[in-house]
Assembly symmetry: C2
Homo-oligomer: 289 residues x 2
């Protein structure tokens, strides 16, 4: 496994791969890897000749007052984990390699970034799309792997690839969870023992909504209120948002609306437990009447 | 010369070129070709194995009330001109091929699009950058050719390639002019005989400024006022803007400022003659004291 820090070294390593037309799987991460990341890596390993994992905490996607500085980092641990998974290249550039100058031109998402996390984190997805576009150009992957936990990110990256004609297949990998249902996240490390004990309420509430939809509930207001009430029962929880949107276009479903049979909907939430802002979602096909 | 209308046919034609690692020169145009375009094509022909010319009037870069509908088009004439220049592929897609759905994700320029034409045409350069990024992805050119007449566009496309790590060399080609100095433009066709007779005042005024700078004039206000006065002498002219900026970062130079020896500056103007909005510019290295 090669560890590479610069764009030019990355090019040198990948040039023969490009020339030979071998397939490349890219797993973009911010590091501090957990089982969710490793599921992406394993899938990439199965499907490609060469696997590249990038580790880069992207300042462009953090807003003022967010956790860019304290975001957990442990490159040695990450590298050891990846070496055991058959990864070919770990690309872990410093900020100056990715942004030699503050960017003047970047990516910009429209309506699809207006709700969900985009509302709480203005500019976040523009920063995500900009760095992913750069990584796509630097690595030229055949396939790129993203987790379903970050559903809005996944939908936007797919849409970016479609709108801008990137020649890359965006592969979605299911969320990996702790035994009690909590979605794996590098930010779980922020949780105090009490918060950690309560955090699974997020997934339990969303799973309740999924089951209610499968059982015939169509009233958006009932679903939203049910999720909110269940989360609010945890005393360390503070809800950022609970939303219902269509998948994959992320069109909002108003509380007064009813779900349409045959459509796929996303029930998504962001909840603070102490200072940790955790997100999760479930995707459900609305059953026929 | 192949004439191609669809993205998939373009891929089919280019796949063997990509696989063989042959160089590709791309000349993106909106058609209605003139000698300025042909200079780009000739340069591309000299420097590359394969030359692709795109002809696409991009709706995304026209604002409401601008001339998208009446922009001149003559594909047969364009194709005949290009066949005589050794072009390999003319790609002239319909709007639905380029934008199968209205884009949700696009390119966005910051400060560099705030002045000059960007001030008069909000969103224009975002539309330009978005379509150029798409063409770069569809064609994968080794080099792409742009005219210096569209100086802000040139600076922004170069900056986009730098900021987003496109692996393409952006080649600038000098402005081609009529014998009386008027810059070649597809929009010159809008000019009435009287307007056409007066339009060369635009370049004469800018050329005066270039000469004044070379002769030691450093006062921005004197240069700006000199250009404005010369243009305003033409009775069919209506000035949109006259600006002085640094090249290539397009930082504005305030009227009260003095030019700095050693810097390169751009004197740029947009002027309406009747309904035709014409632009032109000169680039000058400020001589040492």
């Amino acid at each position: 496994m090669k560890r590479i820090e610069s764009r030019s070294a990355l090019q040198t390593a990948l040039r023969p791969v490009w020339a030979a037309g071998r397939s490349i799987g890219l797993v973009p991460t911010m590091g501090y890897l957990h089982a969710g990341h490793l599921a992406l890596v394993d899938r990439a390993r199965q499907e490609n000749d060469v696997v590249v994992v990038s580790i880069f905490v992207n300042p462009l996607q953090f807003g003022p007052g967010e956790d860019f500085e304290r975001y957990p980092r442990d490159l040695e641990r990450d590298a050891a984990l990846l070496a055991g998974r058959g990864v070919d290249i770990v690309y872990h550039p410093p900020v100056a390699d990715v942004y030699p100058e503050p960017p003047e031109v970047g990516l910009k998402a429209g309506r699809m970034a207006a709700g969900l996390c985009g509302r709480s984190r203005p500019g976040h997805f523009d920063g995500v799309l900009t760095v992913v576009a750069k990584l796509f150009h630097r690595v030229r992957p055949t396939r790129a792997y993203f987790g379903e936990k970050d559903a809005q990110q996944l939908a936007l990256i797919r849409r970016m690839a479609f709108d801008l004609d990137f020649d890359v297949e965006v592969v979605a990998v299911p969320t990996v969870r702790e035994p009690d249902g909590l979605a794996m996240s590098s930010r779980n490390v922020y949780l105090s023992p009490e918060e950690r004990a309560e955090a699974p309420v997020l997934y339990r509430a969303l799973a309740w909504a999924a089951e209610a939809i499968r059982s015939g509930e169509r009233r958006a207001a009932v679903l939203l209120e049910g999720v909110r009430t269940r989360i609010a029962a945890a005393k360390t929880a503070r809800i950022d948002y609970v939303e219902l949107v269509r998948w994959p276009d992320l069109r909002p479903i108003a509380p007064a609306a009813k779900l349409v049979p045959g459509e796929t909907v996303l029930v998504a939430a962001a909840v603070f437990f102490g200072t940790a802002r955790l997100i999760d979602n479930v995707r459900v096909a609305v059953p026929p009447a």
